[in-house]
């Protein structure tokens, strides 16, 4: 009897904890949505209303009507998807190698990967722009995608390697004993088990690319990504517009996470491996 009660108490405690964490993580989102959908006047009052009493789409409309929002959105999606494809294509094999082979220079390699992340991008911006100007990639989405791939690559390699480590090598060897080629064993046996890690890496890549402003602003001129177009210029706009812009940029990234979440939680609940 008491064990049952203990179990129930435990389950209640877990729920309370979940709700508390959700409040902490969700409340700021609620507030930015509230601020984005409030009228400019109501944001100037004190105390601020904590409930959506005066909704207005005025600031959102001005923001969405401004030049280049559609083009910027298109560019951002394009950059995000190219970065995603490139960083997975380059990063997953490398992650596999880091996990499976103790090759000479594995540690220097990991540090080398981190190098682009360890330097503040502002210091790289001018030499980087020169490289792209010289190669004719300046002011194209490809240039931005290449930069974002570089920024996401360490994340992709390191996360996938941590996941590949956990996939037992025997499964792969067993598949090969039964006649599968190495690439086939990899795609059929290892890849499915590594899917959560790949999904996590994909989420990071896309979100990193979606939110990166400074590099995108330096490498393009007339073909901005949406955040570069919006966030950097919004810094000088009245608060109400900054909320509207900040909120509008969140939505596509949320859709993407909702989509990828299923792969991330793919294995959950399976006990058979």
């Amino acid at each position: 009897m008491s064990r049952l009660r203990a179990a129930r108490r435990r389950s209640i405690a877990i729920h309370v904890a979940c709700v508390a964490v959700t409040l902490f993580m969700g409340l700021p989102i609620y507030l930015i949505a509230l601020a984005a959908l409030s009228s400019r006047e109501s944001l100037n009052r004190f105390p601020l209303a904590l409930l959506p009493t005066e909704l207005s789409t005025e600031t959102m409309r001005v923001f969405l009507d401004s030049t280049g929002v559609v083009g910027g959105f298109q560019n951002s999606v394009e950059v995000g998807l190219i970065s995603l494809a490139l960083s997975l294509a380059l990063g997953v094999p490398a992650g596999y190698a880091v996990a499976r082979y103790a090759f000479r220079g594995r540690e220097p390699y990991q540090l080398f990967l981190l190098l682009t992340r360890a330097l503040p991008i502002v210091v790289l911006s001018v030499p980087l722009a020169r490289v792209f100007l010289a190669t004719g990639l300046y002011d194209t989405t490809y240039a931005v995608a290449l930069l974002h791939t570089a920024l996401a690559l360490p994340t992709t390699v390191l996360i996938t390697s941590a996941i590949f480590v956990a996939v037992p090598v025997e499964h792969e060897e067993a598949a090969m004993v039964f006649g599968a080629s190495a690439p086939r064993a990899f795609t059929r046996v290892v890849l499915p088990q590594a899917l959560p890690g790949i999904a996590a890496a994909a989420i990071f890549t896309f979100v990193t690319s979606w939110n990166e402003v400074l590099g995108a602003a330096v490498l393009t001129l007339n073909r901005r990504t949406l955040p570069a177009q919006v966030l950097s210029t919004l810094a000088d706009s009245p608060l109400a517009f900054r909320f509207a812009g900040g909120f509008a940029l969140v939505v596509p990234a949320l859709v993407f996470i909702a989509f990828m979440r299923r792969y991330l939680l793919n294995m959950w609940g399976t006990t058979i491996r």
């Binding site: 030049t67 280049g68 073909r223």
Partner: protein, 450 residues
């Protein structure tokens, strides 16, 4: 999620197929999209030229200026790109450095151009052609950055004034005129107001990371107390000025260290009195102009120091459409377009133009205050540092450091000034430029702190 438990295999296969689909979609996207990305500035139109600017970055101002460009500039579109000063700087540096310039026209503040004098064309010919616009020499000279050659042509000007919510007038000391304050009256006023207002400070200053408070010291406080900006940097009068600043800061809203512009805190009612750039005050009275007063800055023992801000237009060396850029400059400096910019975006004309009577109320308030400030008895014109090039920012930082050490950290004034003066002289010795107003301007003599 528990439903996965029974049949992980099927699910995995399905997911793999989906992942493959996603990969294919990712691969196809660049092919479907326009080659290299879609234009976000209208640069796709035929004959469009690229205009890179640090001005009108707020989203509404940009939209209004783009409209002016569409209405007034003939012969092709102008793709107006607003960027932050750092991106402006990197873009100009990398493009001119690589010899592949895409920007045809650059617009920015004096300080944006100063570090890059060698990267822009000499516009002396255009300046001659535009002589009939009657740009005041003070302004035109600011644009002569390297060896007297015109690097940029004045585009717009602005100044700094006080914005006062009428609610604060009730605490104005008797005998004081809000349109003709002294610094002492200002201190008494904000002190009384604070005590009467439940100990909440009513004065705000733009001391945030992007705030322009260093201009308050360079162009207002120090000239008004010392009559100079650089030469008198560590004089006894300067010590008095900074001691005054310590007292004023004690009556200033502490949140000021977070304010980049004053119009928002004013609009929210966080503060009632503020000093700032006109373009950063203009939205405060926008909704209820009747509740507001705009006034000249206070005067000190040496007069009413005030600062002139200039934005200019320049053409990068190797610009692809330099000729069209010149035409655009001509158009933007016609009195007509200049007044349109004032009406819509609150930047003042640099050319001779009679102010119309039908200005928006907030702009009219500012225009009046700026005029009073210039015409005031004992008005003392100060300029932002001239000819410092890349050191412009570092000199401004020295004034900010003085503020931090004297007002925030409460270090002894004279010691701080002596130490910062050394730094200042080190920079001045390096750049070897003559002083600028209000310091005595002697050609060929390096400006130094006395």
């Amino acid at each position: 999620m528990a439903r996965h438990a029974g049949r992980p295999g099927t699910d995995l296969r399905l997911d793999r197929r989906r992942l493959l689909g996603l990969g294919l979609a990712a691969g196809a996207a660049p092919l479907l999209g326009a080659c290299g990305g879609a234009s976000t500035t209208g640069s796709d139109e035929e004959g469009a030229i690229t205009f890179l600017s640090t001005q009108f970055t707020p989203v509404e101002e940009r939209q209004r200026f783009e409209q002016i460009l569409r209405d007034r500039v003939k012969g092709g579109a102008v793709a107006y790109n607003t960027v932050e000063p750092n991106v402006f700087s990197s873009t100009i540096t990398s493009q001119v450095g690589a010899g592949r310039v895409q920007v045809s026209l650059a617009g920015g503040l004096h300080g944006d151009f100063a570090p890059h004098a060698d990267k822009f064309e000499n516009l002396d010919d255009l300046a001659g052609k535009l002589a009939d616009r009657r740009i005041p020499t003070d302004l035109a000279d600011l644009g002569k950055l390297s060896g007297g050659a015109t690097t940029y042509l004045p585009w717009m000007q602005a100044s700094y004034v006080l914005a006062v919510n009428k609610r604060a007038l009730q605490w104005l000391p008797s005998g004081a005129d809000v349109q003709n304050l002294t610094y002492d009256q200002l201190l008494t006023w904000v002190g009384d107001a604070r005590r009467a207002n439940g100990n909440k400070p009513v004065l705000g200053l733009p001391c945030g990371p992007k705030g322009l408070y260093h201009r308050f010291f360079q162009g207002y406080l120090l000239p008004s107390f010392t009559g100079g900006q650089m030469t008198t940097f560590r004089s006894p009068a300067a010590v008095l000025a900074w001691q005054y600043m310590v007292e004023l800061w004690a009556q200033t809203a502490p949140a000021s260290t977070n304010y980049d512009n004053m119009q928002e805190p004013l609009q929210r009612g966080e503060v009632l009195i503020a000093w700032d750039h006109v373009a950063r005050l203009v939205n405060a009275p926008a909704d209820k102009p009747d509740d507001w007063i705009m006034a000249p800055a206070p005067r000190g023992p040496q007069g009413l120091g005030y600062l002139l801000v200039v934005a200019g237009l320049a053409i990068p060396k190797g610009a692809p459409d330099a000729d069209r850029a010149r035409q655009v400059i001509e158009t933007l400096t016609t009195p007509d377009v200049q007044l349109e910019v004032l009406r819509r975006n609150a930047f003042f004309p640099v050319v001779e133009a009679a102010l119309p009577t039908d200005l928006p109320p907030a702009v009219a308030l500012e225009a009046e205050a700026v005029r009073r400030q210039q015409d005031a008895q004992g008005a003392l014109l100060a300029l932002p540092p001239v000819g410092l090039g890349a050191k412009d920012g570092e000199v401004s930082q020295i004034f900010k450091n003085c503020f931090k050490e004297i007002c925030l950290d409460r270090r002894p004034v004279q010691q701080v000034l002596d130490r910062q003066a050394q730094q200042l002289n080190a920079i001045l010795d390096e750049v070897k430029v003559p002083c600028w107003r209000p310091d005595p301007v002697v050609a060929g003599q390096t400006c130094r702190v006395q």
